[in-house]
Symmetry: C2
Subunit: 109 residues, 2 copies
Amino acid sequence: METDAVFRALADPSRRALLDRLFARNGQTLMELCDGLAMSRQAVSKHLGILEEATLVTAVKRGREKLHYLNPVPIAEIADRWIGKFERARVKDLVAFKTQLESPEGDTE
Amino acid sequence: METDAVFRALADPSRRALLDRLFARNGQTLMELCDGLAMSRQAVSKHLGILEEATLVTAVKRGREKLHYLNPVPIAEIADRWIGKFERARVKDLVAFKTQLESPEGDTE
DNA sequence: TTGACATGCAACCAAACGGTTGCCTATAGT
DNA sequence: ACTATAGGCAACCGTTTGGTTGCATGTCAA
């Protein structure tokens, strides 16, 4: 897996927002994903292209539309292979504790 | 936590390499971290500044040196709060896929 | 105290990035 | 057949980014 492409794709808040939207409802078209965002269709299309290149999003053409699907596997791989090595065990309890302290609701972003 | 700063800090391969180095041996000085990298000292210093701003690295001055320490908490928090939900999505999808395999007609509920 | 060493600061530069606009292609609906 | 709709492509633009160089500051050691 090209780890770098995944990290760079995740670096932009608009792209993370797009992943959030696909997480909320999978298989959306470009137009649907544009809806409500303060960006041109072409900007969203570029972001989706970057997400596709990082294999975080898979797209299927259906007629004149293009349906976009979230692929969480690369993220999970990063969590497993890269983040996991940073002393997951030692920190796990601390995170749970800190999370509870900071915001019982938890922020998604 | 400023999630965005962490994601942006992680987006650069040189910075991830620096985290790797600190993971291998914690508490290194700027000079030590420069060693072997094809970059000027100032470039490394900038990277460390960005990592510090993202709270991924903590630094302590000791005399004329500055010791850098890896702080894995922000990474673990991301894994927990943000990546975790996509992992759950993956599990869900796998379950759905498996269900469909087992009963192609779909469940009657 | 003088010189070497570790780091900080600021200006500068090319390249990448996020976004726009304009135009083109293909499919759907009437 | 014609028109509206969904999307793609490419040029362009301002800002950020990753890097450099030059100089300043602070600290150790002789």
